[in-house]
């Protein structure tokens, strides 16, 4: 009878992992729609191509080497129990592990479900990059970077944090990041920042006398849909990071994670909307959307411990930070069409640093060292990678191609061929 319960627990925890993984996979659709909405229509097909291709590359690279580097899961997932491998002896082994862990202990679940859940996080980190470098980066240069980022750069920092490996044998991190405000979001933003610095702003973004021009996104309904899809996917992102569902205490934690994740998004949206209305005089929808995402990023480092009120406030602070961060980055000529560096980088760092407020086990020093390690590693290795790609094949399209739109130049097709362009 006890074994039957352990079998069910294994099944439930595996199933929960898979469903959450599928929700996070759907965030790729959210990023695609958000970015398609915030770029100009002449660059839509290319940004969509980047988003679908980076997802496929992330899944493939993480299978080949990434999972081995990060979790010692074997090259080509050789460490994962196959269907044939789950024989009677293996089942007995799992039951023994479950009995040792006890019902409230560490989760015991299928290794294949663990890979599936981890791999969609890699894709999320990479999706962050595509928005920041949109409308001017060469498609293939971006995809080459995706190979390095998802196969090496991300798995390395992931192994130091979530897997607890020492950093090149030098030191170990004492760093708490529940679902990856720093490990996933700030890491993606650090890679994006390195790319944007080497790439430069879009043509026409800044006038010769230094004035900032707005380059208006083509499709607000798509941007809004993308934000809602991300918001929904985030329940898998944070909720699944509990790593387990079976047991009263754990199930209650999962429910609180869902609740807090939602509360933070709401708080972030309200804060950004109100602040945009106050300082611009208009309720800028794109800022409200970035505010919701900022709230989600802010709560991701610790979505379980805060009270619902605290989660709302953490989200609201994230939503406030993102508005000022976007304005500031615009001023210092870091051109980020979708606000990815602000949403995921600046607010990701805030999310990491706010953990000790609600989680007594985390320290400010530990969080700071962890965040600095992640940012330093990802930023420097990304900068080198972008630089090498720039030397070999170039990272920026020609001025003429940028003016015509990268849809025609890179993909040979338009997103909306039957629309008459106004420009």
């Amino acid at each position: 009878m006890e074994n039957n319960i352990f079998e069910l627990q294994y099944a439930m925890d595996t199933f929960y992992f898979l469903v959450c993984g599928a929700l996070v996979m759907w965030m790729a659709a959210g990023f695609s729609m958000l970015e398609a909405g915030l770029v100009r229509s002449k660059n839509t097909a290319e940004i969509l191509t980047k988003n679908v291709a980076l997802f496929a590359i992330a899944c493939t690279m993480y299978m080949i080497v990434g999972y081995e580097i990060m979790y010692d899961g074997g090259y080509f997932l050789s460490g994962i129990t196959t269907v044939a491998g789950m024989d009677d002896a293996a089942v007995a082994g799992v039951l023994k592990d479950s009995a040792e862990a006890g019902f409230g202990g560490d989760s015991v679940y299928s290794g294949a479900s663990d890979f599936f859940f981890q791999v969609v996080f890699v894709a999320t980190a990479m999706s962050i990059v595509s928005g920041a470098v949109a409308e001017r980066m060469k498609l293939w240069a971006f995809l080459v970077f995706a190979v390095v980022m998802t196969g090496f750069i991300y798995p390395m920092e992931g192994s130091w944090t979530w897997n607890g490996d020492s950093v090149f044998g030098l030191f170990e991190l004492s760093y708490s990041d529940y679902a990856g405000s720093g490990i996933v979001h700030m890491a993606g933003a650090a890679a994006a920042l390195a790319g944007v610095l080497l790439l430069g702003p879009r043509l026409g973004k800044y006038t010769k006398d230094g004035k900032v021009n707005a380059i208006v996104g083509a499709n607000m309904p798509l941007a809004t849909l993308g934000t809602f899809i991300l918001w929904m996917g985030w329940f898998g992102f944070n909720g699944g990071s509990t790593l387990k569902l079976g047991g009263i205490a754990v199930a209650n934690e999962v429910a609180n994670v869902f609740l807090n994740t939602n509360a933070a998004a709401a708080g972030g949206l309200i804060a950004a909307l109100v602040i945009a209305r106050i300082i611009f005089g208009k309720a800028d929808l794109t800022m409200a959307l970035n505010g919701a995402l900022a709230g989600l990023v802010a709560i991701t480092a610790e979505p379980a411990d805060p009270t619902p009120l605290a989660a709302t406030i953490i989200g609201a602070v994230g939503g406030a930070i993102v508005v000022f961060s976007i304005i500031f980055l615009d001023k210092i000529k870091i051109d980020d069409p979708v606000g990815a560096i602000s949403v995921h980088g600046v607010v990701g760092f805030f999310g990491v640093m706010v953990v000790p407020v609600t989680d007594a086990d985390a320290t400010y020093g530990g969080q700071l060292v962890g965040a600095a390690t992640i940012f330093g590693w990802v930023f420097i290795t990304s900068l080198i990678t972008w630089f090498v790609i720039k030397m070999i094949m170039g990272i920026r399209v020609s001025e003429e191609e940028e003016y015509e739109g990268v849809d025609i130049g890179e993909c040979g097709l338009e997103a909306y061929p039957e629309f008459v362009s106004s420009k």
Binding site: V212, N213, A214, I215, V216, G217, A276, I279, F280, G281, K282, D284, T286, M287, V323, I326, I327, D330, G339
Partner: protein, 112 residues
Amino acid sequence: MKLVTAIIKPFKLDDVREALSEIGVQGITVTEVKGFGRQKGHTELYRGAEYVVDFLPKVKIEAAVSADLLDQVLDAITKSAHTGKIGDGKIFVYDLQQAIRIRTGESGPEAL
């Protein structure tokens, strides 16, 4: 005969049409146009950065009227298209040499 061309705010079109038909104008031609005046377009805000809209959408109305109706027409358009804010538009008046009704072949004021 006179040709009256008025550039007005798009949302005032219905008011102007009504005012003109009340005083007996038999027909008008309407075109959606874009342009700028003394304000040289206007600026809008996106994500905290300004951008200039060079050409604002307007509606152009053309009405061919008999000379004795001209003052009434100008008065009707001025009153019905008026908001008192920047961008209310302008009216231009031309002498009209000839008008022909294609279906009947009538010409001159009878064709209006």
